[in-house]
């Protein structure tokens, strides 16, 4: 599929504003293939807005996105999904009334190759695709140790388990790039470790490029290969975790603020 050897994703001079208020200003950075890139920064720094641009929810005012060598002035949401950009949302965006298995099967939507007509009348090709999807979804549930919950209505599960279901749904169609918005938020220490391990394993075993937003600096510095620090929509720093940790601007704008908060 991917032929060019360049970076997985390039953000070039992207700006975004809401009714005149700048959310992102002239932002540029690159995400290499198979790396975990963490976006950090205070609330309102433009992190979620950036993810929304990457998967086509927001339209940037200017700049472009280069995904696997192809240039986009704007991503269309459907196009982004079809090109293999998967997404997990802040606070989860599961189909809460559906079973865990159906949620994950829904994640395979972009892989469907049968026509509406075939599906409506349940012709052989539609049935065999349905079986294949089901089998694939069950495989992924096993990978996440979720198979015992397959038939459970997802809204009734604890938050930490739901987060795993959401990630399972996002990766079941084998995306090429996975965007995760605060995957560890609202979890206790054990759950955080577990989800972080899941993310690391997906990256390692499926060669998945991952861009994630996370506030827990301790985990970010261990998990990510590459950290981009945003503040007020601008890039404050960009580099491997070691250099970020020692960057005085970052300490002042973000890490320092966190420590002050923790001390208070």
């Amino acid at each position: 599929m991917a032929t060019s050897a360049g970076p997985a994703l390039e953000v070039r001079n992207v700006s975004l504003s809401f009714k005149g208020v700048k959310a992102i200003s002239e932002l540029s950075f690159q995400v290499e293939r198979r790396e975990i890139c963490a976006l950090i920064g205070p609330n309102g720094a433009g992190k979620s807005s950036l993810l929304n641009i990457l998967n086509g929810v927001y339209i940037p005012d200017s700049g472009e996105i280069v995904f696997e060598g192809e240039h986009f002035r704007r991503m269309q949401a459907l196009e982004a999904a079809r090109r293999g950009i998967g997404r997990g949302f802040q606070n989860n965006a599961l189909f809460s009334g559906m079973s865990v298995l159906d949620n994950v099967i829904a994640g395979l939507s972009r892989k469907s190759r049968v026509t509406l007509f075939e599906e409506a009348f349940r012709l052989p090709r539609a049935l065999s695709q349905e079986n294949a999807f089901r089998a694939r979804a069950l495989d992924v549930l096993k990978l996440f140790d979720l198979e015992k919950h397959a038939e459970t209505v997802v809204g009734t599960l604890p938050y930490g388990v739901q987060k795993k279901v959401e990630i399972a749904r996002a990766i079941v169609a084998k995306p090429r790039l996975l965007l995760l918005d605060e995957p560890l938020a609202g979890m206790n220490a054990n759950e955080k470790q577990e989800i972080a391990a899941v993310i690391a394993r997906l990256n390692r075993e499926l060669d998945l490029t991952i861009v994630l937003i996370e506030h827990d600096i301790g985990i970010v510095l261990k998990l990510a290969h590459h950290v981009v620090v945003l503040d007020y929509g601008r890039k404050l720093a960009d580099g491997p975790p070691e250099t970020i940790r020692d960057n005085p601007d970052v300490i002042a704008a973000y890490l320092g603020a966190q420590h002050a908060e923790a001390a208070a």
Partner: protein, 293 residues
């Protein structure tokens, strides 16, 4: 006792006809959060097209096929020309758009096909049959069977197929559905087409009862109390709501009507709906909105 049972059964069967109309609303409301005021006009449009075609000598089967094709095309046109440009607008904007749509559909349909009352014969004899001592309308019985069949088909479609999974996904969380590559516009077309087909069935049954004419589009007003009682988001709710309204109307007319000088059918359903609004604002099966704060 017999009279009570007869009234009750007659009412329940008539109620399934209300349910059929209400289901059309539920489908669209569930998938897109739009209260589709035009459902009544689409129902009239379907029935009127069928009658016009058969009047022109087209055999019934051919007329049904053509009407279905036309309704599907209409659904696609509505999605492309009306819903897509209004994506992410407020529910009130969308409601007003369907209000406008209903007048356009009604106007165009009657402009082309005429506005006089047309008889529609579905070939179902309206002779009463007897279950013991209880007299039941054969037509109502068949109408109820059709409504039941539609509910079964719809629940199979929504629960057993991947289209159903996608549809429920869109209804549940649009942005998540988009991020998975679910084609929301496609889903809306399907939902509007299915709602149109359910409307066609309702329109044919109601049309056979009271003739096909403008007033057919007013059965919408009968569906409203059904939706309030059953909940706007539930197909089983539309069924149960229809049964409650049908039975309630018919029992009230027989047993309370005489004390109030009769003629309480037109408003009784609304009183019932008001009572439900006080006790269960989301309806019997509706989703109660819980906002995360």
């Amino acid at each position: 006792m017999n009279m009570f049972l007869e009234t009750l059964i007659g009412g329940l069967l008539a109620g399934t006809m209300y349910s059929l109309v209400a289901i059309g609303f539920v489908l669209i409301y569930k998938a897109s959060g739009v209260f589709n005021y035009a459902q009544g006009s689409l129902l009239l449009f379907g029935a009127l097209t069928f009658v016009t075609l058969t009047d022109q000598g087209v055999p019934a089967l051919g007329a049904i096929a053509l009407t279905i094709a036309l309704l599907i095309l209409t659904a696609i046109a509505i999605e492309k020309l009306l819903l897509r440009p209004l994506t992410n607008r407020s529910p009130m904007t969308l409601f007003m758009a369907t209000l406008g749509l209903s007048y356009v559909v009604e106007g165009v349909a009657q402009g082309i096909m005429g506005s006089q009352v047309r008889a529609l014969n579905l070939g179902i004899d309206d002779l009463p049959i007897f279950l013991g001592d209880i007299m039941i309308s054969q037509f109502d019985l068949i109408a109820a069977a059709v409504a039941l069949a539609i509910v079964v088909v719809l629940s199979l479609l929504f629960n057993r197929t991947r289209i159903g999974i996608q549809l429920r996904g869109v209804a549940d969380d649009t942005r998540a559905a988009l991020s998975l590559g679910i084609d929301i516009n496609r889903i809306w077309q399907i939902v509007w087409a299915v709602a149109g087909l359910v409307g066609l069935v309702a329109g044919l049954l109601w049309g056979a009862r009271q003739g096909v004419q403008f007033s057919l589009s007013l059965v919408v007003l009968k569906a409203l109390p059904v939706l309030i009682i059953g909940g706007f988001t539930s197909i089983p709710g539309a069924i149960v709501g229809g049964l409650i309204v049908g039975a309630g109307e018919s029992l009230a007319e027989t047993y309370i009507g005489p004390y109030l000088g009769g003629g309480i059918t037109p408003w009784f359903a609304y009183v019932l709906a008001l009572v439900f609004l006080f006790i269960r604002p989301a309806g019997l099966f509706g989703e109660r909105q819980i906002e995360r704060v």
